[in-house]
């Protein structure tokens, strides 16, 4: 490579970051200023989802191991932050059984959100001990089991979580605004980009593409996965903390299968293997979901009256997700970061695809079904 290109290539390697930040910023501002008061609430939810999806991406995208349990960490973040922002006087009335150190604690929204992330990361660290020993489908199943465990505990631990009745009384002044969630979302993107650009992040991505080759080059894999898992737990905790404060009151069911499905859908639709995929996917699905939500509530399109139809949004989302899985299994971004802007040329797309190439045999020979998963693959 010629010396003159070095500066250009350095710029290119970090290019996706400012592009994504600008994209999210512009999308949020445009939707917020042009929309009605309803749209403004939607923008906040969309940005919180973005934090959750970016968090999910940090582990799933970089390691290639699916997690169906990450929403459990969001739940932990939500409970932690909620219990810290509710004034002690109110907690004494609503949840008299709370352990002393929680009952007397009172933090501002930012500190509580950060602590939500820290507690979630700590729980993630504990779960990483058994879970990161597993590979492939077994790891996916174990994370799912973890989700059920966290949910069951959140639903039954009356003393702290108030059981099935859930947490209420989160003061309205901590409700995240568009500006605060936008800042958190941009921080999450910067953090995820920084993580995947570190040596550890690159080693983790290497193990995603070829586990055996990565090991042969001295990557321990288990250690890298563990760090990625804890980092993702932190971001999921932040996202959950914001979501809990946005809801004002919630119980364990708010952080279960539906949220797991929607966040996974956003990641898969965008493209699992790139940060751009996580961002684009969550923006796209948020937009479509809001559009479908409008129709779901009933609308008049000219002379045509569409009656209210609860469930329509979810049906539409599921269909879109299935379509993407079938037609574009690697997502809208095809597992690449946002491309460097240039005039379209004949072979540019071909060259770009080399970076997104997976090393898996079943991707190259899509006709050949795989009988069994690698439950026994060597550690």
């Amino acid at each position: 490579m010629r010396a003159g290109h070095l500066a250009g290539s350095a710029l290119r390697s970090v290019w996706p970051l400012p592009a994504l930040l600008l994209l999210v910023y512009a999308a949020a501002e445009i939707a917020f200023t042009t929309g009605s008061s309803v749209t403004r609430g939607v923008v906040v939810v969309a940005l919180i989802n973005l934090v959750l999806v970016v968090g999910l991406y940090v582990f799933v995208g970089n390691s290639g191991v699916f997690s169906f349990g990450s929403i459990g960490f969001a739940s932990i973040g939500a409970y932690t932050a909620a219990l810290l922002v509710i004034p002690p006087e109110q907690k004494a009335i609503l949840q008299p059984l709370l352990p002393k150190f929680i009952a007397h604690a009172h933090f501002g929204s930012i500190a509580a959100t950060l602590l939500g992330g820290v507690v979630a990361a700590a729980v993630a660290a504990v779960f990483s001990i058994p879970l990161m020993r597993l590979n492939g489908i077994a790891a996916g199943l174990a994370t799912f089991a973890m989700l059920v465990i966290i949910r069951t505990v959140a639903n039954s631990w009356e003393q702290v979580t108030n059981g099935a009745a859930g947490i209420s009384g989160i003061p309205p002044e901590v409700t995240p605004t568009k500006d605060t969630t936008l800042v958190w979302a941009l921080i999450a993107i910067v953090g995820a980009f920084a993580f995947q650009s570190t040596g550890l992040g690159l080693r983790l991505r290497g193990s995603r593409e070829d586990d055996v080759a990565a090991r042969s080059l001295g990557v321990t894999v288990r250690f890298e996965r563990r760090v990625g898992w804890i980092a993702h737990g932190f971001l999921m905790g932040i996202g959950g903390a914001l979501y809990g404060q946005y809801l004002g009151s919630f119980n364990a069911s708010a952080f279960y299968l539906t949220l797991t499905f929607t966040t996974l859908a956003m990641l898969v639709v965008g493209g699992i293997k790139s940060l751009s995929g996580a961002v684009v996917g969550s923006l796209a699905i948020s937009f479509v979901a809001e559009f479908l939500h409008r129709i779901e509530q009933g609308a008049d399109v000219g002379p045509l009256h569409i009656p209210a139809r609860p469930g329509l949004r979810e049906v539409g989302l599921a269909i879109i997700m299935l379509t993407i899985l079938v037609l574009r299994p690697r997502g809208l971004t095809n597992g690449r970061e946002l491309p460097w802007p240039r005039l379209p040329r004949g072979r540019s797309s071909l060259r770009g695809s080399a970076t997104g190439r997976g090393g898996d045999a079943s991707e190259r020979y899509p006709d050949v079904p795989r009988a069994g998963p690698e439950l026994n693959s060597p550690q």
Binding site: F66, F68, P130, L131, R133, L134, G136, I137, A138, G140, L141, A142, A145, M146, V148, I149, T152, V153, N155, S156, G163, L257, F261, L264, A265, V268, R309, P310, G311, L312, E314, V315, L317, A318, I319, M321, L322, L325, V326, P329, D360, S362, Y365, P366, D367, V368, P369, R370, A371, G372, P373, E374, L375, N376, S377, P378
Partner: protein, 294 residues
């Protein structure tokens, strides 16, 4: 003594139910590596059939329930899973998640989200009295029906041409295709059988709970999924064994957990899944398809 006997009967009944559900999941997993979370929705559509069809007599109700479940099983195979054949197991799992979500919300869209009550059979609701133990007829029927289905499925897999092809496909799908077995027929048959199992499971479940709702399939599938992991993913005998083992664990936890911990029953059950995946990832009975060949 009578109490213990009651617990044993309950455990066997639970076990039969889970074995029935688990078998439907293991059958599909063995052949195409798909953990079909939408299996619960096959139970759900079957259950809705019972509510919607009214009371034309039990043979017709069962026939319609099973028929609808089979039709949905074949349809989801054709529309969602066939185009994804050969994808990675996690991708397939996500697709089945999407199908499950789709069917649940279609049910909300069409039938609303409020649960519906129904009375399947007054005969089934009564009990046999043996000494001081009362055994609900439904429990006897559940155990008997499951036993008959297991034997029938076993004979089908051992004695018929399609059954042999299916077992071969579960072991090594690629070789079986090279040998000229029609992949589409084998997979469609497997889905039809899982639909049949789901339909019968739906009838027995509704007879027990008397309630039909859009999300009624979620818990049975979650538990059945635990049973298949315990028994050994991909192994049919393992799924059945896992079903009964889980039934026993479940009943024991229910009976023995102190009331302060009773709410955590599922946490213990799923904790057992993680322990099992770590200690014996191949399960109680090792399916030949999961032995890694290098």
């Amino acid at each position: 003594m009578a109490l213990l006997l009651q617990h044993v009967i309950d455990a066997i009944t639970y076990g039969s139910q889970y074995a029935l559900y688990a078998l439907g999941i293991a059958l599909i997993f063995g052949i195409m590596g798909l953990i079909n979370f939408a299996h619960g929705e096959l139970i759900m559509v079957g259950a809705f059939t019972i509510v919607l069809i009214g009371h034309p007599g039990w043979p017709l109700v069962i026939l319609a329930t099973v028929g609808i479940s089979v039709v949905f099983a074949l349809a989801m195979q054709r529309v969602a899973f066939r185009p994804l054949r050969g994808a990675q197991p996690p991708t397939l799992l996500i697709a089945s998640f999407a199908v499950s979500y789709l069917l649940q919300n279609l049910a909300i869209l069409i039938e609303g989200s409020a649960p519906r009550g129904t009375n399947v059979s007054t005969w089934l609701a009564a009990s046999f009295e043996v000494g001081s133990v009362s055994i609900p007829r439904l429990d006897v029927v559940t155990v008997a029906v499951t036993a008959v289905l297991l034997v029938a499925l076993g004979l089908f897999l051992q004695r018929t041409r399609m059954g042999v092809q299916m077992r071969a496909a579960a072991e090594d799908f690629r070789i079986v295709r090279i040998l000229g077995v029609r992949a589409n027929t084998v997979i469609a048959t497997a889905f039809a059988i899982s639909g049949l199992l789901a339909g019968i499971g739906a009838y027995l479940l509704v007879a027990q709970t008397g309630e039909v709702s859009y999300d009624m399939g979620s818990n049975p599938v979650l538990y059945a999924f635990v049973a298949t992991v315990l028994g050994g993913m991909g192994s049919l005998r393992g799924a059945v064994l896992g079903g009964y083992v889980f039934g026993a664990i479940f009943e024991t936890l229910q009976a023995e957990l102190p009331s302060s911990l009773a709410g955590y029953r599922d946490a213990f059950a799923f904790g057992a899944v993680i322990v099992m995946l770590l200690a014996r990832p191949q399960g109680l009975i090792v399916a030949r398809s999961v032995v890694t060949r290098v």
